[in-house]
């Protein structure tokens, strides 16, 4: 089936099997490998991306369902090599250890700060509930989000 999407401002059109998950389409067909596959069971959130303004786990969506959608992935955050305030805060606060969960954490925190630029500690924790860090480095991740918040 034909699928047309706009990812990080770039339009793509591909012929896709209906059984293909959105994360595989993004990584394998569009070669945007920033979004990770952690668990492939909807638990870990490493594949989180923003589809038509809503944060989703792209392993629980078919690529054909995204036809016509505007998608934002971690590659679209920095502009001309300049990190967003949130990305810079992750760097400044050592908010990553192995880094595997980071793309999903960044997308979830980006979605949070768009909706709620000054979240409380509890709101930050609640917003990142769907993202697991197997290094358990949550403390510095929360610190980074707090620093990036206004």
């Amino acid at each position: 089936m034909d699928v047309a999407v706009t990812v990080n401002g770039v339009e793509y059109e591909r012929d896709v099997e209906p059984r293909k998950l959105l994360i595989h389409f993004i990584r394998d067909d569009l070669d945007l490998t920033g979004s990770h596959i952690g668990c492939d069971t909807g638990n870990c959130g490493a594949c989180s991306m923003i589809v038509d303004g809503l944060l989703v786990k792209s392993c629980m969506l078919l690529a054909v369902q995204a036809d016509g959608a505007t998608i934002e992935t971690v590659e679209g955050l920095a502009e001309d090599g300049k990190l967003t305030a949130l990305q810079q805060a992750f760097s400044d606060h050592h908010a990553l250890q192995c880094g595997y969960c980071t793309p999903g954490m960044l997308m979830s925190a980006t979605a949070l700060l768009r909706e709620n630029p000054s979240p409380s500690e509890r709101e930050i924790r609640k917003a990142l509930q769907g993202n697991l860090c197997r290094c358990t480095g949550y403390w510095n991740i929360f610190e980074a989000v707090k620093a990036a918040a206004k």
């Binding site: 089936m1 099997e17 209906p18 059984r19 293909k20 998950l21 595989h24 492939d40 069971t41 909807g42 959130g45 989180s48 809503l54 944060l55 989703v56 786990k57 392993c59 629980m60 969506l61 078919l62 054909v64 369902q65 979830s108 979605a111 949070l112 609640k126 917003a127 509930q129 769907g130 993202n131």
Partner: protein, 265 residues
């Protein structure tokens, strides 16, 4: 994970969706996909055709009538319900939806999907029973309405038969509701949950203790624990809780939910 090969249909209307569902034995409605896509990965479900209900405006929307009755489209997501000003007419709905999984799942997962999946650990089957919801099911033959108490038939089984779709959920006016659960981590899967509603007496629906929600009635919150005991529950045991512990939790959580409901005005 690569899913088994599947066809994909994007119907333009409910009538169109019903026709496609009736046409193929192996067709299955795809709501938010937050359960179905995962069970397809595990090959626990292998539909031949997915009928995607996303984008059907007929299945969306929350309407509040003058008498306080809420009518909620089956494809309303948890996030949409949480944000809805109308849905606050029955506050427990948004409160419970806000404790389901996480932001990502709440953005995609739907009320209709939650009740139709009827996983015994889901939040909404007991809640729908406690608040006295009615569920409207459409087929090529027309519509019928089923009370929540008759909707849940077994594990993963509901009154929605082949070739049918849940289209909307109707919830009467009321505010005196409560919900209590013991979960795997904050907002995780329920080990036992209880929804309660006070309307004269107390009606409690218990989840995770049987294939379908167990309804218990009592005159007051103080009498709920005894009523649960009389129900002689024999919940399943698993790695998270023994049958005896679940039966104990059922009494505790039913009482908590009933007290929360009774404390509201």
């Amino acid at each position: 994970m690569l899913l088994r090969e599947v066809e994909y249909a994007k119907p333009a209307s409910v009538a169109d969706a019903l026709a496609t569902l009736a046409e193929h034995d192996g067709a299955r409605a795809l709501a938010g996909g937050q359960t179905l896509i995962n069970v397809m990965k595990a090959r626990a479900a292998s539909p031949d055709v997915l009928v995607d209900l996303n984008g059907l405006a007929e299945l969306k929307g929350i309407d509040l009538a003058a008498d306080g009755t809420l009518t909620i489209g089956a494809m309303t997501t948890y996030a949409e319900l949480i944000r809805s000003a109308e849905a606050r007419a029955r506050p427990i709905l948004g409160e419970v939806c806000a404790t389901i999984a996480d932001v990502q799942v709440r953005n995609r997962g739907t009320l209709g999907g939650n009740v139709c999946a009827n996983d015994p650990t889901n939040h909404l089957p007991p809640l729908m029973c406690a608040v006295g919801a009615e569920l409207t099911i459409a087929s090529a033959a027309g519509e019928r309405t089923v009370p929540a108490a008759d909707f849940f038939l077994g594990v993963y089984m509901t009154a929605v038969g082949p070739g049918e779709l849940l289209t909307r959920i109707t919830i009467p006016a009321g505010k005196r509701d409560g919900f209590a659960a013991v979960t795997l981590g904050v907002d995780g899967t329920c080990i036992v949950n209880a929804a309660a509603s006070v309307n004269g007496g107390v009606r409690v629906a218990l989840g995770c203790v049987d294939a379908v929600p167990v309804l218990v009635e009592a005159a007051s919150p103080e009498e709920v624990a005894d009523a649960v005991e009389r129900a002689a529950l024999r919940p399943p045991s698993d790695v998270h809780a023994s049958s005896e512990y679940r039966a104990h939790l059922a009494q505790v959580l039913a009482t908590r939910a009933a007290r929360e409901a009774a404390a509201r005005t």
